[in-house]
């Protein structure tokens, strides 16, 4: 019984077999051979939206998660908006301009600037000729994927808690590690020792807890809002100097002149 139709089919004339094959091919093409374009388009659009929106939420969250300890208060003597004021006990001369140095402890160009101008800037602050703020940034950790800017900045603010900001800052820039490499707690502690931080175990506890990470992140953000797009940037009163505009200030004489010009 079952074999009979088969035998019949093979006996059919060639034209009939051809037509049958064409019909089958056509059915295959419309039903199973390809996916429905509109359905696929809908799926692709939905997946694309999920990918982009999900990616944005994940990115924003991972940026926020970088905030370590629960402490969100800035170090004593620092504000998110203006940074950390060094030589805060110095009496300012009348008309002394405010100089803000935007720096990332991982930035090689900042190390170069510190090597050339560091002493000049500190001397002008110590003599009351300028009000000196350091606005610390840490974007190079995000850019390079290394953990250097934030740990060193934490070390600096923990040293500031013990009155050794400027010493730690100077030691960290002169002994800066290669950009893009992560630093160990011991490597940061070497700066604290050079700076003469009196209570090293308290400093250690403060730094390893990442006490000022939240402040450092906020400080990076507030610098961006001020229009700082890279480091080093120097602001004298309301005038920003970076890249090309910073070049004329790149010598002790040039910097001193800019400060004198800004002194009222």
């Amino acid at each position: 019984m079952a074999k009979k139709p088969n035998t019949n089919r093979t006996d059919r004339p060639a034209s009939a077999t051809d037509r049958q094959a064409k019909i089958q091919a056509a059915q295959k093409a419309t039903s199973t051979g390809g996916a429905n374009k509109i359905t696929i388009a809908g799926v692709v659009v939905i997946l694309a939206i999920i990918a982009v929106v999900g990616g944005v939420i994940w990115s924003q969250k991972s940026a926020e998660d970088a905030v370590g300890s629960g402490n969100t208060s800035p170090p004593a003597g620092a504000t998110v908006a203006e940074g950390y004021r060094s030589f805060a006990d110095v009496t300012l001369k009348p008309g002394a301009p405010t100089v803000t140095v935007f720096e990332d402890f991982q930035c090689p160009a900042c190390r170069d600037l510190e090597a050339i101008l560091g002493t000049t800037i500190a001397d002008l602050a110590e003599s009351g000729d300028i009000k000196l703020n350091y606005h610390v940034m840490n974007f190079l950790d995000d850019a390079t994927g290394a953990k250097q800017s934030t740990p060193v900045a934490n070390g600096a603010f923990c040293a500031a808690d013990q009155g050794k900001w400027q010493e730690f800052h100077d030691a960290a820039f002169s002994g800066q590690y290669t950009e893009g490499t992560s630093v160990t707690q011991e490597q940061v502690a070497a700066f604290a020792k050079t700076a003469g931080v009196p209570d090293l175990s308290a400093w250690e506890a403060c730094t390893s807890a990442g006490k000022y990470t939240a402040y450092i992140n906020d400080s990076n953000e507030s610098a961006g809002k001020l229009g700082v797009t890279g480091t080093p940037t120097i602001r004298i009163n309301d005038q920003m100097y970076s890249g090309q505009t910073l070049a004329p200030l790149g010598t002790p004489e040039g910097f001193t002149k800019a400060v004198q010009d800004a002194t009222k």
């Binding site: 390809g34 692709v44 990918a51 924003q60 995000d142 797009t229 090309q244």
Partner: protein
Amino acid sequence: MSTHELTQTPTSDTARRERLLGWIGLLARLVLGGVLIAAGALKVGHPVTSKMAVQAYQIFPYELAGWIGLALPFAEIVLGTLLVLGLFTRVSAALATGLMILFVLGIASAWARGLNIDCGCFGGGGQIGAGQTAYPQEIARDLALVACGALLIRHPRTALALDSRLV
């Protein structure tokens, strides 16, 4: 693709031209899509840098620029993947071309305003030294990608594309 090859005689000029365009189109898809995927992937995991890269152009309001910076890498990866797969080639190519034109305008605007920034096209970005800018090269590269996109908008039927499996 397969029906073309079977029904047309190999010596037919139009068939040969179509087939050549199909393979050139595949190349354009892989170049444009591959560059987009690479550009996106290099930025994923660097959210702060991505935000700062767009903010450095000083075109959009600060907060909005940050959100654009966060979204761009993923949009680039999605568009790049569609192009490499050859899925909805014409629409994907049109969107990618639009994006590239916006990039060219952004870079040109930064150049014209005397900013010293890296385009941040493949991660990084933000301010760089005055002698380190590469605006002409960046614009030339993006214009070459615009050309790839334009070719695909004109001839969206390309070799080895998922489009050919859609009904």
